[in-house]
């Protein structure tokens, strides 16, 4: 068994494309345990063996492994390789909880620690990442000022939160999903004078982009000088289902239905 796993790992290292199939084999073998091992050995080694012999061999292997594990867990704790083979003196701990509990002790930083603190003092903390929100920020960004765009969206969502008292990120994602059209209309011509509008399906990302564009467009008609305030108002009205984006989506869909016969042109 151990040999098989090593073998699978080796194969994976040599030929990554086959790694998936092999590891699948290993997984299925271990789930069936000893009964299936013989078949598996036969399939891997290519040599047929006697079923009983293979079974006894596999059982012997499993028992040997169990013994080996028991040696490494003296207090009858569950077997954890990361703990058992850790260097002497190390232990499991939650760094945050330990830091909070340790506050009572007096702490004297060394000169090296002070120097490190001075070096890192002014470094900003890495922002949290949300893929959708990062995308929306990217769309807003102008002239490479991404931090400013991030602040605008953050402020807008803060205002939305103050008015709804619910998670604004969830609400915004829901609105974008609801507002995004399923298709767009593409102008198709075969080189002649006639041209037709043909409906084309949109990917999830394209749908979100279209909805976000409509929200930004509508927010531009708001009164405030702060972009974040204008944006928050538009997001809020979209949450309430009043944004013009929804009408635009219906219009696009209607046009697509009218022109559905032209889909065959693209084939």
């Amino acid at each position: 068994m151990l040999g098989m796993i090593r073998f699978a790992a080796r194969r994976a290292a040599i030929c990554p494309s086959r790694a998936g199939i092999l590891s699948q084999n290993v997984r299925s073998a271990s789930s069936k345990a000893a009964d299936g091992v013989a078949d598996f050995l036969a399939s891997v080694n290519g040599k047929p063996e006697g079923r009983e012999q293979a079974d006894s061999e596999a059982k012997a292997w499993l028992e040997a492994m169990k013994e080996l594990r028991d040696e490494f867990r003296p207090d009858n704790e569950p077997y954890k390789p990361s703990k058992v083979f850790a260097p002497e003196g190390s232990r499991d701990y939650n760094i945050l909880i330990d830091a909070a509990n340790k506050e009572a002790e007096t702490f004297e930083p060394t000169l090296a620690q002070i120097a490190q603190f001075e070096a890192l003092k002014d470094k900003a903390i890495a922002p949290m990442m949300d893929e959708t929100m990062e995308y929306l920020v990217g769309v807003i960004t102008r002239h490479g000022k991404k931090a400013r765009a991030r602040r605008y969206l953050s402020e807008a969502l803060y205002l939305v939160y103050l008015q709804t008292r619910q998670d604004p990120v969830k609400q915004l994602k829901h609105v974008l999903e609801k507002m995004g059209p399923l298709i767009r209309m593409k102008r198709f011509s075969d080189g002649g004078a006639r041209a037709e509008l043909v409906p084309l399906p949109l990917s999830e990302r394209q749908r979100m982009r279209q909805a976000w564009d409509w929200i930004l467009e509508a927010s531009d008609r708001r009164q405030s000088r702060s972009f974040s305030v204008r944006l928050s108002e538009e997001i809020l009205s979209a949450i309430q289902g009043k944004s013009p984006g929804f009408e635009k989506k219906v219009t696009v869909h209607k046009t697509a239905i009218t022109n559905r016969a032209y889909i065959s042109l693209l084939k």
């Binding site: 909070a100 008292r165 009164q223 405030s224």
Partner: protein, 396 residues
């Protein structure tokens, strides 16, 4: 050449263009067409009454309690979230103690955390001469200096003190109000500011001032001679024995711009201490003048970037040679000597725990010991403002 060109061939088209341009001129600073909020983000958030929709934290529980006059007798031993009685709270509003950047709109109640520094504030408000009870709150941005100032005001109000507070010292010197040379010529009077400050004092201290005081501050004669009536009021307090707390926020505005934006008749810039109201404040701060019973309290602002004048004045380091007034103001530093410094630090883990329990009770986050540890680390080891914003900074 240019003129000839105008009169020559192109004259007609230029004239037409000019006319067109004139028609198309849009008047600056007119609101855009469209509906909705017209204010900027900070104002829209702070002044749209959003706190009304916040959930209430039950008073009298371990998360929040009322801090009343009897609580002043006992020293503050452990951190707790408190809310002040309504009458006191109203005075704090008049003194502009709740500021837009404090994110108060997130909560229904205006609670604050009593902590180590609060007990130092409590010690200052003892029955002693104001020359002995002078303190300056210093600390990084968002560490709670203005909140501690508000606590000082509340504690003073609970003991029936008169509170004279200047919420933004930068307004005294930014040239947004007038400065007129006085008859003696030594000081520049500030009539507009005197009037405004007198009204603020009268409103915030309605319960402790006598009718004569109110008359002095708010009558029609006070409107005609605001400088005289304010001066008379303060010298009355100086000679009487009523307890008075005089305080100012963002004192480092004087350090950043030692000379006010106002100018004298000779068009020379005016040094901040030559203006009437900064002079009153600095006289009490430097113990040149004093109240028999009282205290002087000031705070620096994290928003205003200033030089080392205040630190040197408080005894941290020595004055640099060859420095310009913009780099080091020796006069102001001399005035700060002998002042007690209250260095406001970030929350300790225990204080963070109490604060986050309150924030969780208000429905902004979910409390757990892991969250306390994580937020403590994320907020730069317990910076109160960063702590609150980390609980509500969405997505980013």
């Amino acid at each position: 050449m240019y003129r000839l060109g105008l009169r020559g061939f192109h004259a007609g088209s230029v004239a037409a263009f000019k006319q067109k341009a004139k028609e198309q001129t849009v008047k600056m600073r007119t609101p855009k067409k469209g509906s909705g909020e017209y204010r900027n983000f900070r104002r829209a958030a702070a002044y749209s009454k959003f706190s009304k929709s916040a959930s209430e934290v039950a008073v009298g529980t371990e998360n929040l309690r009322i801090f009343a006059a009897p609580d002043l007798e006992t020293p503050i031993s452990e951190p707790s979230m408190v809310v002040f009685p309504d009458a006191v709270q109203a005075s704090l509003v008049h003194m502009a103690d709740f500021q837009p950047q404090q994110n108060n709109e997130l909560f229904l109640q205006r609670a604050s955390l009593l902590r180590d520094e609060s007990s130092q504030i409590q010690n200052i408000l003892k029955q002693a001469s104001s020359s002995e009870q002078r303190a300056l709150l210093t600390g990084p941005a968002g560490s709670g200096k203005s909140t501690l100032l508000a606590q000082a005001h509340a504690m003073a109000k609970l003991q029936n003190w008169i509170v004279l507070h200047i919420p933004r010292a930068e307004e005294l010197i930014d040239g947004s109000t007038d400065a007129v040379a006085s008859k003696s010529g030594a000081v520049f009077d500030q009539p507009m500011l005197s009037r405004r400050w007198a009204q603020r004092i009268a409103k915030a201290n309605r319960d402790v001032l006598t009718s004569d005081d109110i008359k002095l501050l708010r009558s029609s004669s006070a409107k005609e001679d605001p400088v005289g009536s304010l001066t008379a009021f303060i010298s009355q307090l100086e000679n009487g024995d009523r307890p008075v707390l005089i305080s100012a926020d963002s004192l480092n505005a004087f350090v950043k711009t030692p000379f006010a934006a106002n100018r004298s008749k000779e068009n020379e810039p005016i040094y901040h201490a030559d203006l009437q109201i900064p002079r009153i404040l600095l006289d009490f701060l430097s113990a040149k003048r004093k109240f028999k019973h009282g205290a002087v309290l000031a705070a620096t602002s994290g928003r205003i970037v200033s030089n080392d004048t205040i630190a040197i004045g408080l005894g941290h380091g020595s004055a640099p040679a060859y420095a310009t007034p913009e780099e080091f103001d020796s006069e102001l530093a001399a005035k700060l000597q002998g002042i007690r410094e209250i260095a406001v630090s970030s929350f300790s883990p225990a204080e963070t725990d109490v604060y986050l329990r309150y924030v969780a009770a208000a429905g902004l986050t979910e409390y757990s010991p892991e969250l306390v540890a994580a937020k403590y680390a994320v907020s730069g080891n317990g910076n109160p403002r960063a702590l609150l914003r980390s609980c509500v900074s969405f997505a980013l």
